[in-house]
Symmetry: C2
Amino acid sequence: MEATGLSRPTVLTVCDELLRLGWVSEMESPSGLALRSGRPSRRFALNSAAGYVLGIDLGATKLQLCLSDLAGTIVAERAEQWRDEHLGAPERLLIARQATLEVLTQAGVEASSVMAAGMAVPAPVRPDGHAVALESYLPGLAALDLRLALRPDFDWPLIVDNDANLAVIAERWRGVAQDVDDVVVLLSGERLGAGICLGGQLIRGGGSAGEMRFLELVEGVGNTDAIGGMCRELGAVAAAETLAGERPWSAHDSELLRLCGGIPAAVDAEMVINAARKGDPAAYEVLEVVTERTARVIAVVATLLDPQMIVLSGGPAGAGDVLIPSLDEELDGLNSAHPRLAASILVGHAPLLGAVRVALDQAFASLLDLNPA
Amino acid sequence: MEATGLSRPTVLTVCDELLRLGWVSEMESPSGLALRSGRPSRRFALNSAAGYVLGIDLGATKLQLCLSDLAGTIVAERAEQWRDEHLGAPERLLIARQATLEVLTQAGVEASSVMAAGMAVPAPVRPDGHAVALESYLPGLAALDLRLALRPDFDWPLIVDNDANLAVIAERWRGVAQDVDDVVVLLSGERLGAGICLGGQLIRGGGSAGEMRFLELVEGVGNTDAIGGMCRELGAVAAAETLAGERPWSAHDSELLRLCGGIPAAVDAEMVINAARKGDPAAYEVLEVVTERTARVIAVVATLLDPQMIVLSGGPAGAGDVLIPSLDEELDGLNSAHPRLAASILVGHAPLLGAVRVALDQAFASLLDLNPA
DNA sequence: GCATTTATTAACGGCCTTTATATATTTCTC
DNA sequence: GAGAAATATATAAAGGCCGTTAATAAATGC
């Protein structure tokens, strides 16, 4: 009644109709929590088994799929590394279709029960379903109309979007940005991409909003793909500087030195993060090299768009406890005020969950088309 | 009928009601263009005299006001330089109220006929009506709730916004960005501000979206206020480089040299533009110094937001015929693809017209509240 | 006068509201 | 602890608003 502004009899009529059609089910025993006197109210819930949606994350390094019911509960999930990193897009889509079939059987769900699918790809997607050419990541992707990627095996409506765009949708749905209308997600993977949500709406521009190539123009940033692979970079920076003998920690006793077994060239990102967690000043010195560059990127985005929150997603999210204080400090130096930084809690599932969310939106939209109630 | 999806009898009923209430008037003689046979249709038009709105541009250097009828036709206008550039905000608002009274008498419109007012200020405005502190431009502005700026003289609803935000609204209403949903206006005045419209909606963020301070981080840009005063800068750059003897045109025969009467230090922006219009290569060399920096700013904005169009507004708009080809060339060097550049045709009235537009929106919105037809 | 187009009136119907009544449950009371 | 009162909801009925379609009237060109 509150949501629709309709009166109780009308709402009940609609609920009965939905019940008859099978879209909702009536809860049997509201007794447990019937604290008030009076005739108990009937309780309805979305009949989650009435339909399903599929989410796909066609990543650069791996494939993720999941099946969700209409309530958004994941009923089956599957992830696999690509056998060959240089696989072409058509081959990857073929593998995705095979994996889809397996997820369906695993969950015991008929293909006809799936109402829609969503797919994340690591490239900007134009409204016509074609990706903006980015051959380096997924060869042949731009040549396909991705909306047809599951045909002819499955004829569900398929919503395809940029992984960063779907990540921001996921963060607003089930992540750290719930109830935040102005938020930017920085998705770091093989590359760096931004998902921009302003005023509660996803910003797509001509399709490639949120691309980060431009940031090479920002002083002290350099190649943005290196920021994308922030974690990889942490190790590389540490190793390089160690070899050059520039940092004191290689010469002195430090947690970082202990973690790498005394072999500075073997330092990787995890070691840097772990050492920083123990408060090792040497690790923080390494961290600063990478966070300073990231902070400059954030400063540009934050000043231009003035969002309430910026979310770190992808690889670096797990190290948020270390990275965010460091980034905060760098940003304070660049900018008097900056938005709240947060680390994603969706552990690599953000684009996948975003794909589920847009598929659910599509499913509900098509229901409303049929049922103008 | 087309706009509302209602049937003819219903539309007629509503029109008659609006006629009775005085909001629309019936056209007397549609005879001139009654080319078809059959009973002639009745024609209605918004009764523009039914109400008025006021637009105010509280600029850094001057005050502009105009009175518009409900059709958006300007019925009276007024502009004046501030007597004292360092005048405080309360004093400026007092002057604005006096000028408002004069515009009303000039047009012969009662204060009670004004339904709403809009005001542009050269600073970000938060939703609570307070400007973000920017003392350097308008001392004391941030301390006031600007929504009350016309009280107690006039008790109209007053919509206050950033000049760049209102400029983008104006460009979409009556400027070069009509029917463009994704557009960024770069408003150059004393400072540089961006008005960002994406998906047909103005992007405000926490209030200060579109600020340009961050651009000092972009390589080769330097202080962004210098880009804001692009025209002033053109003269300064030319003069400085001339004095340093760095440019060939000071030593050789050129149109630019002729225009300044042989005194290079006297070169100003207008001379550079005029010489460039005649194809003077020396003038283009000076231009490039300024356009290269602006191009970098545009590249950052364009890549991050991917708009369909970027509009140059404010001072440089008049020199668009020279600046845009030059900027296009610089951008081609930075970026493979970039959005269409256009120069504003609103000759310094963009924020003012935007203020009128938001006031009209407010007026119509309040009408719909009263008249749920 | 006829065709054409629109205005105007009237009848009808859907959707939702309000009102009234019935029902299921808790709580009070003896 | 049984029955009455209180409470909250379900259900049915009546009514009204808003818009539709259909039918009729009116104004114009040919």
